[in-house]
Amino acid sequence: MGVGGPQAQRTLGRGHPGGSSWSGSRRRVEKGPCPPGAGSGMSGGGGELWVTPVSAPPQMEVQRALERLHMTIFSQSVSPCGKFLAAGNNYGQIAIFSLSAALSSEAKEESKKPVVTFVAHDGPVYSLVSTDRHLLSAGDGEVKAWLWGEILKKGCKEVWSRHPPYRSSLEVPEINALLLNPKENSLLLAGGDCHLHSMDLETGTFTRALRGHTDYIHCLALRERSPEVLSGSEDGTVRLWDLRTGEEVQTIEVYRHEECARPQNGKWIGCLATDSDWMVCGGGPALTLWHLRSATPTTVFPLRAPQKHVTFYQDLILSAGQGPCVNQWQLSGELKAQVPGSSSSLLSLSLNQQPAAPECKVLTAAGNSCRVDVFTNLGYRAFSLSFS
């Protein structure tokens, strides 16, 4: 990172509170100006660049430094053995970090860099999920699968790549969320075309499309006890779908409830998590805990910033979003702790609870920087892995 430091200065463009779409339907992220194109694209983007002419650095290094500055890591996934972490960024690259090397007692600076980085998609990698043998990555319109056993070798090729049946072939909507359904061995995809597609992992065919949302879908969650899927979308509703019949069971319009609605932020649902009886959702409206059977909001968590990722962990609810901290909440609505990370806002959290590697049991958080923060203990940030 010191390469770009003394030799190039940059004024950062304005941040985008609440997100805005750059092209078509995109996820809400805080992004600076678009990264400059290859080579001489320095006048592109919204900032200005001064290069002091003392010693002209090679173009590549400046380019790389700018890329690191504008990187956003959208998604993370842990390997089935628990020892590796895959992270996908907005340039379409996936980096594999070795958690066991970085957590061991002889960790050096190089252990905090990726073991291997490869370009997976042309566009950003919005979602990553792991089965017990494959890593599935989804970006602009396609899902690709990579073998975890092969991924550490150079020149890894995808095992298969599919795209769900879209109605119009003109626009290719992005896939924002992937969800594995282990009981039926199927993958659920949801994204810009407002439908949930279900793909059978053995045959690779798309079995069902669940229609009902009126705007693009941000997030998915699986309810274990009954085979239902929850999907949260830009149109402000959380819909429950029954997987056996393919019908919409319930619609919860979060923005209509006064306790949690925040019309100044919009009505979009950015994050969802469920515990079979309870559900947490947030985004434009405040982060709220819902009781699913009665569809009533029970606790509103008092945080102003919209949250982008939320998850249940033991007796806590962990959430992260705009703002550098990972927030830990108790179900009663009290804030138990706010632990700052190293990015200015966070987009994804990942808890490594794989039983095969209990020594790598960490929480990792990534957002709009090139760093992935590792929390060995929920109370403080241990160190950060860096994308390169």
Binding site: H291, T298, D315, L331, S332
Partner: protein, 204 residues
Amino acid sequence: MGAVTDDEVIRKRLLIDGDGAGDDRRINLLVKSFIKWCNAGSQEEGYSQYQRMLSTLSQCEFSMGKTLLVYDMNLREMENYEKIYKDIENSIAGAHEKIAECKKQILQAKRIRKNRQEYDALAKVIQHHPDRHETLKELDALGKELQHLSHIKENVEDKLELRRKQFHVLLSTIHELQQTLENDEKLSEVEEAQEASMETEMKP
């Protein structure tokens, strides 16, 4: 590096005491003085040398005894340390087990706390709604009031019907009377006209 310093050390030691340190030197001196004593001349010198040799010998025996005692002591210390080491290992294993046990208890306690908090959250929502008994009582009261009011309404309507019917009877009787009066008037007019025409017929 280690090899060099070893050489240095050996060289220094060889330079400093050629025959070995302390006890080795004493034994060598003893051998030399024994040979000297065997070759000694006078009785007195021989006797003093003999005394000196005895003292050296006793010194050697003394240091030998000391070394043996130290050796015993070291052995016993070793055993003691072994014992302490084993004790500490056992207590470490015990502590590990206790830690695992406590971790399980923590998980259990967290689950309980989560359940309690879920219960509290639901209870808060339920509290907002009024009590079922009260609502039932209110419903009962309202039902009774409704009945009472409809009863009154029925009564009032009955009264109204009755009055209407009576009025109707009254009005119809009045009309009949009117009709009868009109009929009578007409009859009387007709009779008068008839009488008038009969009189005009009889006059001429």
